[in-house]
């Protein structure tokens, strides 16, 4: 029988109907530039700790609601962190506790 079509993955959006493109752009916030820098530093090294492919796969694994709700660099830092956990560079517990401690600090200025 013909292979049933399970439908497209959420990120695989070529050809879907969508609204008008707004030719807008923003100056990147410092934290976004640092996320970008982290990906470059972790992937462009003798022993890469994150590959662009793992980044993409982790972003693709976000459910549709999270994918749409999160901004571009929020998806990136999520995927970098997820990859580092998979690789054993970070543990779930240490990252979770570190995030808690950071939020307990005074408000963050950029």
């Amino acid at each position: 029988m013909t292979l049933p079509d399970p439908g497209r993955s959420h990120h695989d959006m070529g050809g879907l109907p969508a609204a008008a493109v707004v030719p807008a752009e923003h100056d990147y916030a410092m934290w976004e530039k640092r996320v970008d820098a982290l990906l470059v530093l972790l992937s462009n090294r003798d022993k890469p700790l994150v590959s662009t492919d793992e980044l993409r796969r982790n972003i693709e694994s976000l459910g549709s609601e999270s994918y749409e709700r999160m901004s571009y660099y929020e998806r990136w830092i999520f995927a970098i962190a997820q990859t580092l956990i998979e690789r054993g560079v970070l543990t779930v517990d240490e990252l979770g506790r570190k995030i808690e401690r950071i939020c307990a600090r005074e408000s963050v200025h950029e």
Partner: protein, 96 residues
């Protein structure tokens, strides 16, 4: 390298789970090989922190837009070119 520029190919109508770089909208569609890009480690393996070797041949495949979209309203010779890995392509024997 299995294919050469000018070869007619079809993208396999396949829907694997996992990380792939073949967009949904070209699956099952036929086009022409525009050029061979070289061989690269397989992203379907790299995505899982595996080396992705041996490297796989990558091709730019050109599709007529009117073959991709039933309601395409542009120029009849408008095309789209996407990079597709060799294991996603099969030869089209008959001219259509």
């Amino acid at each position: 390298m299995r294919f050469r520029p000018g070869d007619r190919v079809r993208v396999r109508r396949s829907f694997p789970i996992g990380h792939v770089r073949t967009p949904y909208y070209v699956r099952g569609k036929a086009g022409l090989v525009e050029r061979a890009c070289g061989s690269f480690p397989n992203p379907e393996e790299l995505a899982y922190a595996r080396p992705g070797l041996p490297a796989l041949p990558l091709y730019r495949v050109q599709f007529l837009q009117r073959d991709l979209w039933p309601d395409y309203a542009g120029h009849p010779a408008d095309v789209l070119v996407a990079e597709i890995y060799q294991h996603w392509l099969e030869a089209v024997e008959n001219l259509q």
